[in-house]
């Protein structure tokens, strides 16, 4: 018993080590003294049952008291260390912080969502359609005459049996007209395919956003107003917009919408080829033949439609000269648009 009490006294000495211990040392001390199997104090307590009653009580009381003291000391020290970890005094605060990986949406996705969100405010929902299309939906229901030069601008990848990879998102106009009654207000984002070699300004596959509004009494004024409103929201409120004649088989009148060049604010620069304008989208009033092909009376209903290339819009807005960068997936490029530090 005596040597047990002496051992306890000796063990008590070690309390003094605790206030100096760092996190690691503290953990070691805890194991050494209070460890569940080999802890010095634990083993001592384990020998208690072999002692006679009086010794058991004396040693037991002392050992348990010491155990509480150790526990309190360990807890104190842990609190101190935890506080120290949160303290900044004496640190070089210019050292880099600890990061986590940041994810990010592809720039084209960001622009598509931004555009669709603006149109959502104007009452347009999102619709989709297949990428492998029939010639009927891709061309003929859209009023493309057979064997007409208008088809030349739509050089296509053919899959056989009257199927091709859609050259624009416009086939979804017909699919939507066939499926839903007016009023219709949809935007249709999706991938389209053109048989163009992959170079700095052409990709064989790119994103397009189609739009379609059909109802009674929709006029050229509604058409201009909706797209001009979009342009002023997407760019800036004071951006100037112009509409000029164009030709698409599925719209009549057809128009091209230009916005003031965002680089030079209309003064003329290399980006806008000195014109002061950037071509943003092709558009027009829905051709009556398209309404009829979609099973909608062109006498009762009218509408407008447009198509635009978010990749190209992104390139002009963000100063990207080569479209291939969008598809190379270099993480340094992607991270620039993820809003992250790395």
């Amino acid at each position: 018993m005596r040597d047990l009490l002496a051992a306890l006294t000796e063990l008590r000495e070690r309390l003094q080590e605790i206030p100096q211990a760092d996190q690691r040392r503290l953990q070691d001390l805890k194991t050494e003294i209070l460890g569940r199997k080999a802890g010095a104090l634990t083993q001592m307590l384990g020998r208690l049952p072999k002692l006679d009653a009086s010794a058991k009580q004396a040693v037991g009381a002392a050992a348990n008291a010491l155990k509480r003291e150790f526990e309190a000391a360990f807890a104190d020290r842990e609190r101190v260390l935890k506080r120290a970890a949160g303290a900044v005094a004496g640190l070089d605060l210019s050292m880099p912080g600890r990061a986590v990986w940041r994810g990010g949406y592809h720039l084209v996705t960001q622009v598509v969502d931004e555009i669709c969100d603006i149109f959502r405010e104007l009452g347009f929902t999102r619709a989709v359609g297949p990428e492998a299309e029939t010639e009927r939906y891709n061309f003929f229901a859209l009023n493309f005459p057979k064997d007409h030069p208008a088809l030349d601008a739509q050089d296509s990848f053919y899959l056989g049996e009257g199927l091709l990879l859609r050259t624009h998102t416009s086939p979804v106009q017909i699919r939507t007209l066939e499926r839903y009654p007016p009023p219709i207000r949809v935007v249709i984002p999706g991938q389209v395919y053109r048989r163009d070699p992959f170079d700095a300004s052409h990709a064989p596959v790119f994103e397009q956003i189609e739009g379609l509004a059909v109802d009674e009494g929709i006029s050229f004024v509604d058409f201009k107003a909706t797209l001009a409103t979009f342009a002023r929201r997407f760019f800036t409120a004071d951006t100037r917009v112009r509409f000029r004649p164009s030709f698409f088989p599925f719209t009549e009148p057809s128009a091209e919408m230009d916005v003031q060049c965002q680089m030079c604010r209309g003064a003329g620069c290399a980006t806008c080829k000195q014109t002061g304008w950037m071509e943003i989208l092709g558009s027009g009033m829905v051709h009556p033949a398209v309404l009829e092909n979609g099973g909608v009376s062109s006498e009762r209903y009218s509408g407008f439609a447009w198509g635009m290339g978010p990749a190209r819009i992104a390139m002009t807005r963000h100063g990207i000269a080569d479209i291939r960068l969008l598809y190379e997936s270099d993480v340094r490029f992607l991270a620039q648009f993820a809003g992250g530090v790395r």
Partner: protein, 821 residues
């Protein structure tokens, strides 16, 4: 289409500003891509009068001229090497300090010991032609010192118009001038042909040696008032005839609905006069000879392709318009042998094809220097026939381009008449008989009925009938009221105008789109719901971005990546001849691209369409794929240089997340059949996703690469139902178990959970150990167990009983025991 400002000025009889033309054409007709100034770099060149010519004292071939350049340079000495220099004449003179085309700056220098002050210039030196044998003699009364570009009308602008496929009328100067007249005011008159019909010489172009006369009263005769034939050509169903001893047979009236032939005898083929070469050069066309240049001039003036060929080379002599025979061959002007098919129309003589109708003529019937008698063809060829021929032969020409888009069938006689006049003016010869006009089924202008109220309805602003009439008339439509509607006659040059809405577009564009207001008006909400596919894609993207992945977009074309891949019939290259079946191969290529740029840490995902052969149309669906390689998180200085790289467990977590996002309800199972990694299995047993290590073309420093791909299920999401947070305290304890080989942690957890029952709230692996203390072939796995009764406080004894039940079941069923000690 390139048009020349000067040419337009000649048609409109007024000066034009090229920028203004570009603006007006863009805003009312078709986009102008560019305005290119021509010969504006001659600003330093002035008119110089040679006062005196002496022989150069030290050189036989040089002369020493005394040149008066007015205020620019008083009489100065200029050394000149041209044989044609004469005292008293005027020439372009570039003084010392002048910059010539090509950027050469003239300096005062000695030539063979005599100082020369500037230069008298040849056409070539001024960029005006190829002639450099002599200096350019000017026919002008302008005083010496006047700017050359002010006196000689060479300065021009090319206006490059992007003519849409529906506006063939804009493929010629007259058509563009018509549009300008409509928006700027004025009328279009064809300028008289210099040298034809006793023209009087006058200034302007004459200074370049050409002749020009004041605009005559004869001008833009509307086609509808023109006679259907030039002269006594037979009409009705006649399909053959003879003109000036040449037999003409129209055997393919479907391919050539209207066919006109003139025979001109006694021409002299030679270089064109300067005014004609200048016109053609101004739009980038190379002058060839007077006959060919004349036909080209009419093409670019009136949009009527013409073909002149050598009568002497015709067998018969006959001109037969027929479908080509199978395998019939022709050597075209470009020297290539072409094989024809019966889908093509050929112009033949009595024996063989001489022209591929509307596309290109043969080399051996071409007009040459020896040609004296011409057959001049003026035709309308059926547009789709020409288009198919052009595509089949991969042979395009200015003519085929126009025939494909449709020319003015009613304007042909006027065009032919003017062509004959022009050829005779520039090449001589005579027309002994009127041209023959074969037109078996004569057509008239199309008439369209337009309701004026429909115009306002579609355009959204009131438009007065008077304005409708004024706008449409200005570009050649003819209107007459009929039964409360307008009967509108469409001119022959507007094949695109076929219904009322086309006329409404005419009104809108001539008024100017900018003239319409653009304030938002009320609208009714639509009936189309958001596409669930789009919502699903958005959800998946968001989930992937949240865990630190960057979204990639790759090209869906590549080599075949497995069975049933969809083939493209006309790929750009063999490497891109198939549609992807999976996203992962493309993403691995992207990782390799990143490795090549020394990017070691790459975490990409893509949400994209994949394709597979189906019954009938290809099946397509959206796939989600991700690739992971490199450090688990960005390194930090406080943690030393090296952080752990992502491993198979990082992959598993991403896969679980991807499956939960893209294919909720699917189970993860270890892959079988030699594959490593996991698969995601649907309730029905179908595998819809997989994940595992991947191989790539990796540099030595690259970390292991992992990938996953899951088919996106388009399902509605059920809302999350709230589970009450526990209020009773848990009992927590750690259990280390020894697992024999082949027993999975998942199996252990399942048995334990089942045997213990709902009191076991949560099981969490926190350690795995192999080594001393564990029997060979076994491993120890430690779980952190949380027990809880939602209703009351658990007692430790209850937990021990429940755990004992679980341990007994484990030993019983799996031979798993609690680790000793």
């Amino acid at each position: 289409m390139i048009v020349s400002r000067r040419w337009l000025e000649a048609l409109l009889g007024r000066p034009l500003d090229a920028r203004e033309v570009a603006e007006q054409v863009t805003m009312h007709a078709a986009a102008v891509d560019a305005v290119v100034p021509l010969h504006q770099d001659l600003g330093d060149v002035v008119i110089g009068r040679v006062l005196e010519v002496k022989k150069h004292p030290n050189a036989d071939r040089l002369s020493l001229c005394r040149v008066d350049a007015g205020a620019v340079a008083g009489p100065v000495d200029v050394v000149c090497g041209a044989p044609n220099v004469q005292a008293g004449k005027t020439y372009p003179y570039a003084p010392v300090g002048a910059t010539l085309p090509g950027g050469v700056k003239l300096e005062r220098r000695k030539i063979r010991g005599v100082e020369s002050n500037g230069m008298l210039c040849s056409a070539k030196e001024l960029g005006l032609g190829v002639d450099h044998a002599g200096i350019l003699e000017l026919d002008t009364t302008a005083p010496p010192g006047s700017r050359f570009v002010d006196v000689v009308p060479v300065a021009d602008h090319q206006i490059v118009i992007d003519v849409p496929a529906n506006r063939p009328d804009l493929l010629c100067h007259k058509g563009v001038a018509r549009e300008l007249a409509a928006v700027l005011g004025g009328t279009v008159k064809l300028p008289p042909i210099p040298g034809a019909g006793g023209a009087a010489p006058a200034g302007g172009d004459a200074a370049l040696g050409g002749r020009r006369r004041a605009p005559s009263a004869r001008g833009d005769v509307p086609a509808r008032s023109a006679e259907p034939g030039v002269a006594a050509g037979p009409s009705g169903r006649v399909t053959s005839g003879v003109v000036d001893e040449v037999e003409i047979r129209l055997e393919d009236p479907e391919g050539a609905p209207r066919y006109m032939i003139a025979v001109i005898r006694g021409v002299k083929v030679a270089p064109s006069p300067a005014w004609l070469t200048a016109r053609l050069s101004s739009i980038g066309q190379r002058p060839i000879n007077n006959v060919v240049d004349a036909t080209n001039y009419i093409l670019f003036e009136l949009n009527q392709p013409l073909h002149a060929f050598d009568l002497a080379k015709l067998n018969g002599p006959a001109v037969v318009v027929r479908r080509a025979k199978p395998g019939e061959k022709i050597v075209t002007l470009d020297g290539l042998t072409r094989t024809l098919t019966p889908d093509m129309t050929a112009i033949c003589d009595a024996k063989r094809p001489t022209i591929i109708a509307g596309v290109m003529g043969s080399a051996d019937s071409e007009v040459s220097a020896a040609t004296t008698d011409l057959v001049l063809e003026c035709a309308f060829f059926q547009p789709t026939r020409i288009r198919r021929t052009r595509r089949a032969l991969e042979l395009s020409s200015e003519s085929s381009y126009r025939f494909e888009r449709g020319i003015d069938m009613l304007g042909m006689p006027d065009a032919l008449r003017r062509a004959i006049e022009l050829i005779i003016a520039v090449a001589g010869g005579e027309l002994r008989e009127p041209p023959l006009d074969l037109w078996p089924e004569p057509q008239q202008e199309r008439t369209i009925f337009l309701r004026p109220e429909r115009v306002a309805h579609l355009l959204g602003v009131p438009v007065e009938p008077a304005e409708i009439e004024r706008r449409l008339t200005s570009v050649g439509f003819f209107l007459a009221p009929k039964d409360g509607r307008l009967a509108v006659q469409v001119p022959g040059w507007r094949p695109d105008v076929t219904r009322d809405v086309d006329l409404i577009e005419e009104v809108a564009r001539l008024k100017g789109y900018d003239a319409f207001p653009d304030e938002l008006r009320p609208y009714r909400p639509g009936t189309v719901p958001d596409a669930p596919e789009e919502q699903a894609r958005a959800r998946v993207r968001e989930g992937m971005v949240r865990v630190g992945l960057l979204e990639a977009r790759t090209i869906p074309l590549g080599p075949a990546d497995g069975p049933n891949s969809v083939r493209i019939l006309n790929p750009l290259s063999a490497e891109e001849a198939h549609l992807r079946r999976r996203l992962l191969p493309g993403l691995v290529r992207r990782v390799e691209h990143n490795w090549a740029s020394r990017n070691r840490d790459v975490r990409l995902f893509e949400v994209g369409t994949v394709f597979r052969l189906g019954a009938g149309a290809p099946e397509e669906w959206t796939s989600l794929a991700a690739v992971l390689t490199g450090a688990r998180r960005p390194p930090h200085w406080s943690e030393g240089a090296k952080l752990p790289d992502m491993d198979i467990w990082d992959l598993k977590h991403h896969f679980e997340l991807a499956v939960e996002l893209a294919a909720p309800g699917c189970k993860l199972e270890p892959a079988s059949g030699g594959e490593s990694g996991w698969v995601a299995v649907q309730r029905g047993g179908e595998v819809v996703g997989h994940a595992g290590p991947l191989e790539g073309d990796a540099p030595v420093w690259a970390a292991p690469l992992f990938g996953l791909e899951v088919r996106l299920a388009v399902t509605g999401r059920r809302p999350v139902v709230y589970r009450p947070l526990p209020v009773q305290p848990p009992v927590e304890l750690d259990v280390a178990l020894v697992l024999p080989e082949g027993v999975s942690a998942l199996r252990v957890a399942e048995v334990l959970q089942r045997a213990v029952g709902p009191l076991l709230e949560r099981l969490e692996v926190f350690d795995e150990y192999r080594g001393p203390g564990i029997p060979a072939g076994h491993r120890s796995v430690a779980w952190h167990c949380t027990f809880r009764d939602p209703e009351r406080t658990l007692r430790e004894a209850e937990v021990n009983v429940a755990l004992a039940r679980g341990l007994a079941a484990l030993e019983d069923e799996l031979g798993v025991r609690r680790r000793e000690g």
